[in-house]
Amino acid sequence: MSTLLVEDDGATRAYLLDALNRISALQPVNFAVDVASGMRALERFRPKLLLVDLGLPDGEGTQLIAMAAKMEPRPEVLVISSLGDESHVVRALEAGASGYLLKDETPEAIGVAALKVLDGESPISPAIAVHLLKRFRPVAAPAPQEHPLSDREVDILKLIAKGLRHDEVADTLGLRYSTVVSYVRDIYRKLAVHSRTEALFEARQLGLLRE
């Protein structure tokens, strides 16, 4: 079990390292400061958990996420998110991330979030739920809806968008907490696949790919 942190800002990196180092289950924690070194570190350490900032000096954190998504075994990926940039988070989720981490959380909250994602629980916020609802239901569907959300998934997203916690969602819909958790995870997975089919569709539309 190892963790890789890719963050260019020194202070944030130190703060996060400090928070992560408090938890033995995440040890050892390695770090990188840009995409290039992050890729090398991914190859070398093959971490179980990857925490990655999106805006890196030499590129996008999504490159690292995409690379991690192809690795076997596949690391869990948390995007390090700062203020109100849920749209970036959604982009990272589309690239295959399992969740996100807020930079200004307390060290305890950061540790809990990291452990939760290793347990298979994906953090989700109302803002992200709203984004997801929009994402899967474009006004004029340009792409074939190969992986539409099920009615249950939509219900869950709608409740989350209104600020309900997982347990409240479970109560409202008469589900078990763990079921809600796995639904959220499924939705994230669908998002990643969805974004890929959409990209394929658009590439075909543009004539970049042959049928």
Binding site: L83, G84, E86, D104, E105, T106, A109, S125, P126, A127, A129, V130, L159, I160, A161, K162, G163, L164
Partner: protein
């Protein structure tokens, strides 16, 4: 000039048709009999136009040295009266192409069949018996007292029958065709007039052709419905009426007023017509009658025809209009046919010649139809052109509107952008900006503990979030925006050991507020929560939202120490910072909250949260009006 070619060709072809088709052709291979003998043996030389011979029987003879081996026939190109024939005492069969009209023949051709058995070598006697005709049925001039007979041809049936048939067709069938065409055009013009009563020219034309039809009856209907003399007068009067109506039509067609001559001729026609009828009843078979009919009436018809042609030719010369050329051509053709008929009747032309004038209506209706067609096409083209112009105008207009619309949209968008920038700047300045500035001042002045600074920074960040969330809430329901707010606030409350219960998800779907309104609600809520965190000493806080029609109510209720009672008196009263004797002070936050509600057109109320004397708690309720239309602007 080119427009003249068509009408001129029309006249020429009209005459060529009349002469080639209607005029009798030479007969060959038959014997022409030119002399008949009456009962007393007095000779009568054919053709006879109108003779006072009243012998009931005429005879002649044909000779053949060898006799006849094939059927023979007798062909009479024209006869004024019905007749029967005998050859060597045997009655002959007459070929009839018109059953029922056999009794009377008016300028009709006859063909009698002579079987070869009846004839023998040497002389053969042919007898013509004129049938007496009831005067009631016949006009006087065609009465039994007069003999009218063209040359008589005797020869093989094969030779004569085709000739007879051609002659018959050209005289009878063509007349019938003319009558039917005229009838159709009459009805058509009448319907046109009915459909457009204001265009009386169609009515005049219809009446003109209808009256001509009466004249045509004379040629297709041999049994007079009235006293023969009277009938003959009437059909000629009808013809005069027809010419007057066509004259009237032409005046209206030419958009000319009626002239004095027009009125005079109409009056003259009326006088002559009436006197003609009177004379025909009172003085039939007199010289007066003959003079009236052949003099006045024919003279009137000639004058009317000349006047019509003159009117048209004058207009054609003045206006050089193709349609007038055509009308003139038809009139000239008609007039010339009338002149031709007069020549036949006055014996200038051979008696066997066909009468043509009654067919003169045919070119007139043909030209009328042609003119109508042209008018219709011109109307269609005008309508199309107008439509095209309208289309173009609409297109131009819509393009202009589109331009205007997009310009306005651009302006609106720019205005919205400016508004948004302004709002953002204000929000950042009022919120996180001022917090950071005061934090900086505090640090510079006296320094701060790390904890104080963390708290201040957290508040600045929280406010920054509110601003960004309010922007994000564009297009989201209020329930979603409040969910967002909850996700921001809950961790802080939990970290402070405060248990929070949220009842905000039950707001109806589709309730959207502007980002400005949303931010103000966020900040008011934030202030209420900060108040709870800092001053209430509560363990539980409940945040609930509901919308009652046009008002949104959001309550924050805690179980803390509560607010001094005097601060809670008036619902809209802004709490002051005055310390309360028993209980916490209102604080700047609650004052801000109240004034914020005011700026939204709403208000805030403060009341006891729980009926517990120990921990009365505080219930802050925000009332915000919901605009009738969901807000989409800033």
């Amino acid at each position: 000039m080119r427009a003249l070619i068509g009408p001129l060709l029309f006249v020429i072809f009209g005459w060529m048709f009349a002469l080639l088709v209607l005029h009798p052709t030479e007969i060959t291979g038959a014997e022409r009999l030119t002399i008949l003998f009456d009962a007393e043996g007095a000779p009568v030389t054919l053709p006879v136009r109108e003779s006072q011979h009243e012998a009931p029987l005429y005879r002649t003879s044909v000779n053949s040295d060898v006799g006849y081996s094939a059927p023979q026939a007798i062909y009479i190109g024209f006869a004024r009266q019905p007749m029967q024939m005998r050859a060597n005492g045997v009655p002959l069969e007459r070929i009839s192409l018109r059953p029922g009209a056999d009794e009377i023949g008016f300028r009709q051709a006859f063909l009698f069949l002579v079987p070869e058995e009846v004839l023998h070598a040497g002389g053969n006697t042919l007898e013509f018996a004129l049938k007496p005709v009831n005067v009631q049925d016949r006009p006087a001039q065609m009465g039994p007292k007069t003999l009218g007979l063209s040359e008589i041809w005797f020869g093989p049936r094969d030779q004569l029958e085709p000739h007879f048939r051609t002659m018959y067709a050209s005289r009878v069938t063509l007349t019938q065709i003319t009558a039917i065409t005229a009838l159709l055009i009459t009805l058509f013009a009448a319907l046109l007039w009915l459909a457009r009563p204001s265009e009386t020219l169609y009515g005049w034309f219809s009446l003109g052709v209808a009256l001509w039809m009466v004249y045509l009856l004379h040629f297709v209907w041999y049994r007079a419905p009235l006293n023969g003399h009277c009938w003959l007068a009437l059909i000629h009067i009808a013809l005069a009426g027809s010419l007057l109506c066509v004259q009237r039509f032409c005046r209206q067609f030419l958009a000319q007023p009626r002239t004095r001559l027009d009125r005079f001729l109409a009056l003259a026609a009326l006088i002559i017509g009436v006197s003609m009828v009177v004379i025909s009843i009172a003085l039939p078979d007199t010289l007066a009658y003959q003079i009236c009919l052949n003099g006045f009436i024919r003279g009137l018809l000639l004058v009317l025809g000349l006047h019509l042609v003159g009117t048209l030719l004058h207009a054609a010369y003045r206006r050089r209009d193709a349609q007038i050329y055509w009308l003139s051509a038809a009139a000239v053709l008609g007039l010339s046919l009338g002149v031709y008929d007069s020549a036949v009747i006055l014996a200038v032309l051979p008696a066997s010649s066909s009468l043509l004038f009654h067919l003169g209506v045919l070119p007139l209706v043909v030209v009328f139809g042609y003119i109508l067609l042209q008018r219709f096409v011109a109307l269609l083209e005008a309508a199309e052109a107008q439509n095209a112009v309208l289309d173009l105008r609409i297109q131009q207009k819509s393009v202009a509107l589109e331009h205007e619309f997009s310009a306005r949209q651009l302006l609106e968008r720019e205005r919205m952008l400016v508004d948004e920038r302004h709002r953002l700047a204000t929000d950042l300045h009022d919120g996180a900006g001022s917090q950071l500035v005061s934090l900086l001042a505090a640090v510079r002045r006296e320094g701060m503990s790390a904890q104080q600074m963390e708290q201040a920074l957290l508040e600045a960040i929280a406010d920054l979030r509110l601003v960004m969330d309010s922007i994000d809430s564009m297009g989201s329901d209020l329930a979603e925006a409040l969910g967002q707010f909850r996700s921001r606030s809950e961790p802080r409350l939990r970290a402070a050991g405060l248990n929070s219960v949220w009842r905000t998800s039950t707001l109806r779907d589709g309730l959207k507020l502007s980002p400005r309104r949303t931010l103000n609600i966020f900040r008011a809520l934030q202030e209420a929560l900060v108040n709870v965190l800092k001053h209430a000493g509560a363990t539980d806080v409940q945040i609930s939202a509901r919308d009652a029609g046009s008002v949104l109510q959001i309550s924050v209720r805690d179980n803390g120490v509560g607010l001094a009672p005097e601060l809670m008196n008036a619902a809209s009263q802004v709490p002051t910072t005055t310390p309360a004797p028993n209980g916490r002070t209102g604080g700047r936050g609650l004052a801000n909250l109240a004034s914020r509600m005011k700026s939204l057109g709403g208000y805030a109320t403060f009341s006891t949260g729980y009926a517990d004397a120990e921990r009365p708690g505080l219930n802050v309720s925000l009332y915000v009006p919901i605009p009738a239309e969901n807000e989409t602007k800033w």
